[in-house]
């Protein structure tokens, strides 16, 4: 409604032609157009340039070949391991963030209006999530290093022969990534829960259901699409993060498992992600293979764009979609 009404100043009635405005207004008009169009130009330039370089350097086989640690990086191997690394880290991050975010959102919307204590605690939790949302990922990464290098948590990575805990593994990176995914997941779930009209809850209560059963049977199904949107937002934040992986994933070119127990050894192991692969092959890393960096960056960009499309599809028809970039 407001979208149509705001534009009424332009579509309805006689409008004054810009020719009759003061020059400062004409300047502002030109500046606004310039701002909008240059954004489009920059985005087009980025996409086209990355596409051009990607097509130039990406061989389809690269996605399925394992990287070779040869002295001459430019000619050898692909980036299967970094791609798998990205997938594993995202999976671990979402697996940890999802229950936490949904539980918090449910608690705050459904139970956080009780006595003074629960209201105060709800404020604390909301502020905590806001602080986490505002924390730079490099600080989260450093915190992760401090935590996972504790001797207590040595089983979650490995211990070198001199006694120093390595502190870097898939579980370490995944746990910190969950902090990245948590705020968007929480916000999406909370908004979805708040949007459920009160009469649905009241009908359930009238039928004698407890609050928790109402949540499970009535509210959860109706916020499924919100949770899906939030999850995809969280995944796209995780996929795009470089700092956490650089510091917490051990920087080995190939995925290297640690120990013998099947899934656990992957979690304890080290590897790399698409983002660190791009970084390491760029002139900021070892500088030896910008071709590989372009190829991997192209795949990364396509992945992020695909996630964007999914988010848009899931959020179709909702007003808050544009603000979901945050």
């Amino acid at each position: 409604m407001s979208a149509v009404a705001v534009r009424s100043g332009r579509t309805g009635g006689r409008r004054s032609s810009p020719m009759s405005w003061r020059w400062s207004d004409r300047l502002a008009l030109a500046a606004a157009w310039l701002a909008g169009l240059s954004l489009c130009l920059i985005a087009a330039a980025i996409v086209l340039y990355m596409g051009y370089r990607g097509i130039q350097y990406l061989r389809p086989g690269m996605i399925f070949e394992r990287p070779q640690a040869s002295a001459d990086q430019a000619g050898s191997g692909g980036f299967l391991d970094p791609l798998l690394g990205t997938i594993v880290v995202s999976a671990v991050g979402i697996a940890i963030a999802l229950p936490l975010a949904v539980a918090s959102a449910v608690w705050i919307t459904e139970y956080g209006h009780g006595g003074r204590l629960s209201r105060a605690l709800a404020r604390v939790v909301e502020s905590s999530i806001e602080i986490v949302a505002g924390t730079p990922d490099i600080v989260i990464a450093i915190f992760g290093l401090a935590v996972f290098q504790l001797p207590l948590l040595a089983p979650l990575s490995f211990q070198a022969e001199g006694g120093g805990v390595f502190g870097r593994s898939f579980i370490a990176a995944g746990a910190m990534m969950s902090l990245l995914a948590l705020p968007p997941l929480y916000a999406a779930t909370r908004d979805g829960l708040q949007a459920v009209p009160a009469h649905m809850r009241e009908a359930a209560f009238a039928l004698g259901k407890t609050r928790i059963t109402t949540v499970r049977r009535v509210l959860m199904p109706s916020v499924r699409s919100n949770i899906a949107t939030g999850t995809t937002l969280g995944i796209s934040r995780i996929v795009g993060s470089t700092a956490i992986v650089l510091i917490l994933l051990g920087s080995t070119l190939r995925i290297e498992t640690q120990g013998a127990v099947p899934v656990v050894n992957l979690l304890r192991g080290t590897g790399s992600s698409l983002t660190t692969y791009v970084y390491e092959n760029s002139p900021a890393g070892e500088g030896a293979a910008p071709e590989k960096a372009y190829a991997a960056a192209f795949v990364l960009l396509v992945l992020v764009l695909a996630l964007n499309v999914v988010i848009e599809r899931l959020g179709r028809g909702r007003r808050d979609v544009i603000s979901s970039v945050i």
Partner: protein, 328 residues
């Protein structure tokens, strides 16, 4: 036994369980501040608050920290990190200032001025720019922008004017600020657009009815009404800019140098710099040395505290502005 777990829980148990899980997040925040603060304590212990000031030779101090043994002396903790703070503040301030201007203009364009079909194109464009990973911005920066600045914008005269002081390689303030602005503007546009659309159309129509042209009406009425949103956008963008490590590390030149306005304007923009976040990334491998580890954690503490201050400060600044805000 599985049967008992699957039966629906009584409400009070569920409430407590969910509450405990939620409070876990509060615990994480407290743990984060505690861990980082404890590990950065040695720097405060040996320098007091003077470590935030200038006067030392930062690169020499870092070299000394790297060479220090496992039991560092007091002198090994000596640190004067002002160039880092200056680099951080400078790059962030310029990028946010530019970004707000562009974001407001672009949002007015999207919501008020552009034909609807064009708006429908620009909105996904904004979302796209916001979701491009920072390493890709950094890649384009270091492979395209930095050589361009170094080979075509920096003249020999510029290089000669700072001979012996610093070398201009193209990586420095200019590419950093340019890319940083592009990175933070989409976030601001999203917030400002949302706020613009929430302004009741009657406010603007009233101004137009009084004889103002549409753009002037926007300037006089709508922009004032969305001031809290602009503040919120600026705060969010500042937090993002402060925390950007990877992209800045790739294009800022990696030299701890405080760009000096005395060198004249084009040269000032070409000088290299280092920010707190990029320094953490640069020195991440050296944390085997205890004194360097404390230094890195103290940079992190600064970033953490500033993120915290921004959230609180943004909230406080918005309070008085709320009185004039459009209530949808």
């Amino acid at each position: 036994m599985l049967e008992r777990l699957k039966r629906p829980w009584p409400d009070h148990r569920a409430e407590r369980a969910l509450g405990a899980v939620s409070l876990l997040l509060g615990v994480v925040i407290v743990a984060m501040i505690a861990f980082v603060a404890v590990r950065s304590w040695p720097i405060f212990q040996h320098n007091g608050l003077r470590w935030l000031g200038g006067g030392g030779d930062f690169e020499a101090e870092i070299a000394r920290m790297n060479a220090a043994t496992a039991h560092p002396t007091a002198a090994d903790y000596q640190l004067r990190a002002w160039p880092l703070l200056y680099g951080t503040l400078l790059s962030t301030a310029i990028a946010v200032a530019l970004g707000i201007a562009i974001a407001v203009l672009a949002s007015v364009f999207i919501v008020e001025l552009a034909p609807r079909r064009l708006s429908r194109v620009v909105i996904p464009v904004v979302r796209l720019l916001a979701s491009v990973p920072s390493v890709i911005y950094g890649l384009i920066g270091i492979l395209v922008l930095v050589p361009f600045v170094g080979n075509h914008l920096v003249s020999e005269g510029d290089r000669r004017s700072v001979l012996g002081v610093v070398q201009l390689t193209g990586a420095g303030l200019a590419p950093t600020v340019a890319i940083l602005t592009v990175m933070i503007t989409p976030i601001m546009i999203a917030l400002v657009c949302e706020a613009l659309e929430a302004v009741p159309p009657s406010w603007k129509e009233g101004a137009v009815a009084l004889g103002l042209n549409p753009l002037r009406a926007v300037r006089a009425v709508t922009l004032k009404a969305i001031r809290p949103a602009i503040v919120a956008a600026a705060v969010l963008a500042t937090a993002r800019a402060l925390g950007e490590a990877v992209m800045i590390q790739m294009v800022s030149g990696g030299k701890t140098f405080a760009p000096n306005l005395d060198h004249g304007v084009p040269v000032f923009l070409f000088e290299p710099l280092r920010t707190l976040a990029s320094a953490i990334l640069d020195f991440r491998e050296g944390i085997g040395s205890p004194s360097l580890k404390a230094a890195v954690y103290s940079f992190s503490l600064l970033l953490l505290l500033s993120a915290f201050v921004l959230s609180v400060g943004g909230y406080l600044v918005k309070l008085p502005l709320r009185r004039h805000q459009a209530r949808a």
